[in-house]
Symmetry: C2
Subunit: 345 residues, 2 copies
């Protein structure tokens, strides 16, 4: 794996691109309109976030010699889709906290939050539409098509995960998790942003798939680290309630492994825990599940899997960027795998 010295450039690049994109996320909305709609659009974007997805679009475009400003609409759209996804996801998971504050539906109720999520998706679509004047009809339409593909994968990934909880899935294997991850996380967090950067930099005839494996591995590593932080992270940095996934019965890599290794009465106890609804699960039982995960090395095993994926992502990026000259955008893409598995937030 690369040395620790790649991390500062990743942080710097995230900050630089976040400053470029944030004004659009926070200010670019109709001035007049009903309460409980436009006023609430900046709530999540203005809380501390990494801006990883927009940075991935912009850095990919810049590293491949594209004009950053032509990719800005797409980068903003990527980040808006992400924020919409967070609002809906928080409703779906009944989450309490997001980015260090109460979730939108905890503050304003499910009805209003659902509507704000839809409006955030609409703002993203408006950015996709605005591409036409900047990129021309043909390339802009291709970005629209990429957007649909991404949305389809994300919705399917979300459906897979919700189905596991609803059906109380007991016989999942690691590969099930990775397939779910590819759809739920990798597509919208990594593959789609990278493809848009590539498309803007290289035009509509370029091979859009060259960064797909990089994005897949990176997204899976990102998600595993996210699941680990949800279990054992520091709330001050992570910004979500620690252990929320446990109470939700989420099938993380750790949970799938624990289901496999726990036998006898401990296995029965876990099955009984997972067979209940979220409100029927106690904090004490959740703490017991976490203890079992630790004792059976599930967290450490997941860390190793994430590190392996990060290494594979780094190798993919190295291949694609072999011909690319040095610079912070190239360094960012090469350092990102290490960053996602060592991040505390």
């Amino acid at each position: 794996m690369s040395s620790a010295s790649t991390l500062p450039v990743v942080e710097e690049t995230l900050t630089r691109y976040r400053e470029l994109v944030l004004p659009a996320l926070v200010d670019d909305r109709p001035e007049r309109g009903p309460s409980y709609l436009y006023d609430l659009l900046p709530v999540y974007p203005s809380r501390p976030g990494k801006g990883l997805r927009a940075a991935l679009t912009l850095a990919t475009c810049a590293a491949l010699g594209g004009d950053l400003h032509l990719a800005l609409n797409s980068a903003v759209a990527v980040e808006l889709f992400h924020n919409a996804f967070l609002i809906h996801d928080d409703i779906q998971d009944a989450s309490e906290d997001r980015r260090g504050g109460p979730t939108l539906h905890s503050l304003y109720g499910t009805a209003i939050a659902l509507n704000v999520g839809n409006a955030t998706n609409l703002l993203a679509l408006q950015r996709i539409r605005a591409n036409r004047a900047i990129l021309g009809g043909s390339l802009a339409w291709q970005v629209f098509e990429e957007t649909e593909t991404m949305l389809r994968h994300s919705l399917e990934g979300q459906a897979i995960e919700l189905g596991w909880i609803r059906d109380n899935a007991v016989d999942l294997v690691d590969d099930d998790y990775y397939r779910m991850c590819l759809k739920k996380t990798s597509w919208y967090t990594c593959i789609y942003p990278a493809r848009l950067g590539l498309l803007v930099a290289r035009g509509s005839t370029t091979d859009l798939t060259v960064l797909d494996r990089f994005g897949w591995y990176l997204g899976a590593a990102f998600q595993i680290q996210d699941d680990i932080l949800n279990l054992v992270g520091d709330y001050g940095q992570y910004g979500k309630e620690i252990g929320g996934d446990l109470l939700e019965g989420k099938r993380t890599l750790m949970m799938i492994r624990l289901q496999r290794v726990l036998t006898g009465s401990d296995g029965d106890r876990l099955r009984s825990y997972l067979g209940r609804t979220r409100s029927e699960r106690s904090d004490e039982e959740a703490a017991w599940v976490l203890l079992q995960m630790r004792e059976h090395g599930c967290v450490e095993a997941a860390r190793r899997s994430a590190a392996d994926l990060a290494q594979a992502a780094r190798a993919e990026a190295g291949q694609v960027l072999a011909e690319v000259g040095p610079g912070p955008d190239r360094d960012f893409l090469l350092g990102l795998p290490e960053y996602v598995v060592t991040r505390a937030r």
Copy 2:
């Protein structure tokens, strides 16, 4: 107002276009995919519905001399957006029944229903995208832009109505209701479908606004009749729980008028009723509110307002269609205002 003899042609046209559009709504989805996503897409579309919005697009296109088949994608999209809106709206209103069966979130939970609503929106977007091959890039972009405008109005209308309930609005006037209606109902139910039919029939240089007032009046008449059916309709035909709006505290024209006329202790009682949350409102109190509405002539006054709007819509349609030759599509558009205010479902 037109004679009662226009109603059969409206019913026939609805049936004819519903048969054209329904297969696309029910069958046109990926064959393979996760449970709790594609399997649930046909749930609402396959229940008995009017198909009013798709018929409006197709009849407008055909009446104005356009090729019906060029408008089919748009008509299907219109209906899919409607179904997505219903799924989300049912979650937002905590509704129990829809089209004669339990709401999707009652059957599968909020998380899965929210996701299916999003997937239904995505299928609609895919139809908008498919337009490019049929209509060409320029016209297809214009349909996309119309779609965004419609979505914006709908979300704003929804936000206005949710805000009234959240803030327990006590000083609304009829005009507030009509403005909300324009955004929440008229745009997506009438103006948008008619504009798409117009666009496909007459091309991108046509004046898209000529049917706007027709659509506004028609949509408002439609919504008032919907609110009346929710109060005093027959469940067997209407398909939603009767009185749901009352329990929800919805600011219908009847409620706004009742708030204006009730004084003294009755006024206090209504304010106290509206000041509670849905779960704190009893069926007995809701029945008392309905009785007050009846005694103060609020329902009859709303019926008259709807009839006036229908007449205005009919006059608008007559003007736009003055040069159009006779035929069932012209008759459908002219008869629709009467239909929407006399319908029982």
